[in-house]
Symmetry: C2
Subunit: 161 residues, 2 copies
Amino acid sequence: MTLDGKIAQNAQHFSNWTSKEDRDHLHKIEDQCDVLVVGHNTYKAAQEPLSKRNCIVLTRSVKKTKRVSKSCLFYNPKSLPIEKLLRSFGYKYICILGGTQTYNFFLHHGLIDEIYLTIEPYIFGRGLCLFDFAKDSMIHYTLFSIKKLNNTGTILLHYKK
Amino acid sequence: MTLDGKIAQNAQHFSNWTSKEDRDHLHKIEDQCDVLVVGHNTYKAAQEPLSKRNCIVLTRSVKKTKRVSKSCLFYNPKSLPIEKLLRSFGYKYICILGGTQTYNFFLHHGLIDEIYLTIEPYIFGRGLCLFDFAKDSMIHYTLFSIKKLNNTGTILLHYKK
């Protein structure tokens, strides 16, 4: 995200504004995961790079699930619990890639165990936030590590639940 | 701010959720500054601690300026340019304390030279952002330093223009 807490300027905004070092880190994490989970807007904004990965796309455009390619499954979260779906495939390490609505969904279900947060030295001023989800209380995570990713001011924070 | 980029849950939310180490750092900075600048909502939410400091309160509730106490000046930014007001008092080091509208105002006028950004290990989910201001392009700041403030996961980032 930017230093002012924005992950995109709008829903169509592709994340090509982030540093090479952030993308390298992301790809390393993606390599280690069994599946990537994204929302439909994020999928449409990054369809080309995501086509090379095993993906679940959260969407209301299908009733239950629909396999749209060998590596991509469309899934309506109202049709069955996400835990059940992930377990049915034997997925253990799941990389949640956003956007905001998808992060909301996993936060709401208490399913975010770790957060890798890259802060790029920019200000968007307005845009999409990491979450947009009303909570009565604040949720605490533990800071596990801080890493300076490059000399242009990008840092990587790793939080655990 | 929280790790999800929120500075408060709402306009009335007093910043007593931040760590002692963040408040200690803030007070050190305040001691070094000639004047603090806050918006009317921030002033109302923190009137007691601010009463001990030399303050300018941005507000539409006065026509031009109105001295409400020895140390506190109400000022309508539409009445005269802020640079002119600050220069008339000989103020050089100005601490801009928010909230969102006040940060917007100074960002819009290109008057933010440095940003001290404390990130507390919490998620609010929804709330006020650092800025809420439409920009066509992103604004770049340079990361000057990273400091771990405590063992509970608070970090302090220092950016310069």
